[in-house]
Symmetry: C2
Subunit: 363 residues, 2 copies
């Protein structure tokens, strides 16, 4: 098999005996239902990544001493396939996500993957399970590639064996209350990541960090937390599991990728779009004081998060040390709406794909 | 069954059909060989921890969507059982480790265990697999309790189900070069943990953080890294996977537990012992500059790490930004040696257990 000029290993395929029952749109949540098949590949020191295969989705055997349970050497990605209005299946910016997967790998001492090989496996999997891609606007097929370290002994060390999985989950809208502004607590007790840590990698550690903060914010009635930097506890980092943008005086500002923030693909998409639309965009340090001051002066026009799951998530309220501010009267801003409409329009095929974001699985 | 006044659930036992072959002392490494059996318990929201059982050590089935692979909600402990000189099996400070297990649980939103119940399970497991406890000085049975989150879907959230395992591994000396001073790189690029993070919990995230730093230090010829604080990058935190102590002008100094450092049981043991021996002990912030200045003035007498695996690990060399200092002429210090001899003496039964550190499994 050949893909993009690279000679690929043949992918073996073992199909389910009986296809699963497709969920109806109202049964879709997030990451609860999985398709019939998954892609797997193994890594062994000296042998490299090998044995790419598609098998029925199902349980896997691990020894209790498997190193990932103890020392968290693991990475993942989150990407999406869509059923477009003319019934094609297409993946949003596949190479960007798989390249980030490799950047995460380097932060965790995990061996690099061949992006084209994994992409070929993913696309073959998508072709096989294409009936599972839902069609209703807002729904999609969430793609979760992940790698876990699999050595079966428990010294703290870099594993010599790994397993890569790609699993697929048809999903509804990420936020159950839809495209409505969310209420955000500015976190001043917990810290997500620090420079010199793993904040720029998509790895379990960063999510384990967030559990207590998220739980406390939920108890207090907030949807998400906004993380501040670990050193000064004043510079904005990201919101929950998304990047964050501010529109101040018609300028689009987002924190720079300084080492503790995940470089979101949707973040990059928004920056590219805004520049293309002739807006002034700036990646820089921005303190929470500056955000509050801009609000006091009436210059804070919009705040929104960007992420694969939600695409754009407008922020209606910020609460920092008990002091609450409302943004744009708790209404979705014009720019956030325009971004959401454009990006989802391209994803669902109602807007021309002028930037070549979509990779077609079926023709 | 009753244990310490608490009515316990009966622990079901399913034994191996054929006992495994016991390793010889020279086959022992660290965490590579496991005993015949393991202890397992399940947690389900509304039902609590249930179904404690002892079963043959072996593979376990997990769905690829199991939440621990993706978001790292997991904790562990590391403790030891010893075969004493009069052939008794005893565990070092079991309750201290299991209480820390519960403190780690709270940092990761994992439900608390009943310490006495888990201890009863552990002791029953040890009784069953007691033949696996090696007897040679320096060898022991390493005990690894751990909890993983097991919900089978991939939204970022606190899991509603968990599995607790206790696995046992007969181990040789942690450092293959024995009780000799190690060479330490003071890490100025990577950061292990930050206040507001998970540094005080025994959780996979902290170990994932350490992989790149440890790999680079090894490449440069060092045994371990010494972590500095995330904010000022100057205050000493811990060394590799151990706590650190300095003996300066006859004062025993160790960094205070300020939120980003693991509260080691061996650390606490050393503090208690030193106080009992009439030495001045201080838990406080100590900067790496202060350590280097003490060395320059000839006042830095000893540096050593403390941990369950190594007990005491003398530091012979520190290297900070390329500047190397030798400690005690790269010889094991008198105080480190005295601590090591006392603690291991109690563990192996040659020194009376005057502080009641040892919990006897067999009588």
């Amino acid at each position: 098999m050949s893909f993009g000029g690279i000679v690929m290993t043949e992918i073996s395929v073992s199909k389910v005996e009986q296809a699963g029952v497709l969920p109806t749109d109202d049964q879709l949540g997030f990451g609860k239902i999985f398709t019939d098949h998954m892609f797997i590949m193994d890594y062994e020191e000296g042998k490299g990544w090998h044995s790419p295969r598609i098998v029925p989705y199902g349980e896997f055997s691990f020894l209790p001493a498997t190193i990932v349970f103890h020392y968290g050497q693991a990475i993942f990605e989150g990407m999406k396939a869509f059923r477009t209005s003319n019934d094609q299946i297409a993946v949003f910016r596949a190479n960007h996500y798989l390249n980030r997967f490799n950047r995460s790998a380097s932060h965790l001492c995990i061996p690099q993957i061949n992006v084209e090989e994994v992409k070929a496996g993913l696309f073959q999997l998508l072709e096989l399970d294409k009936a599972w891609v839902p069609s209703k606007l807002g729904t999609s097929l969430y793609i979760r590639p992940f790698i876990v370290s699999t050595d079966g002994y428990i010294g703290v060390k870099v594993s010599s064996t790994y397993k890569l999985f790609i699993i697929l989950s048809p999903v509804g809208a990420y936020y159950s209350n839809g495209f409505n502004p969310v209420s955000i607590k500015v976190e001043d007790k917990y810290v997500r990541a620090t420079k010199g840590g793993l904040g720029q990698a998509k790895t379990p550690a960063n999510y384990a960090m967030s559990l207590n903060a998220q739980a406390e914010a939920h108890e207090q009635g907030f949807d998400q937390v906004l993380w501040l930097d670990a050193v000064h506890r004043k510079y904005v980092e990201e919101v929950g599991t998304m990047n964050i943008f501010f529109k101040i005086n018609d300028e689009i500002i987002t924190p720079e990728l300084s080492g503790s923030i995940l470089g979101g693909i949707t973040r990059q998409t928004v920056l590219e779009l805004a520049q293309n639309w002739g807006l002034k965009t700036t990646e820089r340090q921005i303190s929470i004081e500056e955000v509050y001051e801009a609000h006091a002066k009436g210059e804070l026009q919009e705040v929104f998060g960007t992420g694969t799951a939600a695409v754009i998530s407008p922020v209606g309220e910020l609460s920092w040390k008990g002091q609450k501010i409302n943004i744009n009267n708790n209404q979705t801003g014009e720019f956030a709406k325009k971004l959401f409409d454009f990006v989802t329009g391209v994803q669902y095929g109602s807007v021309p794909d002028e930037f070549s974001w979509m990779d077609k699985v079926t023709v």
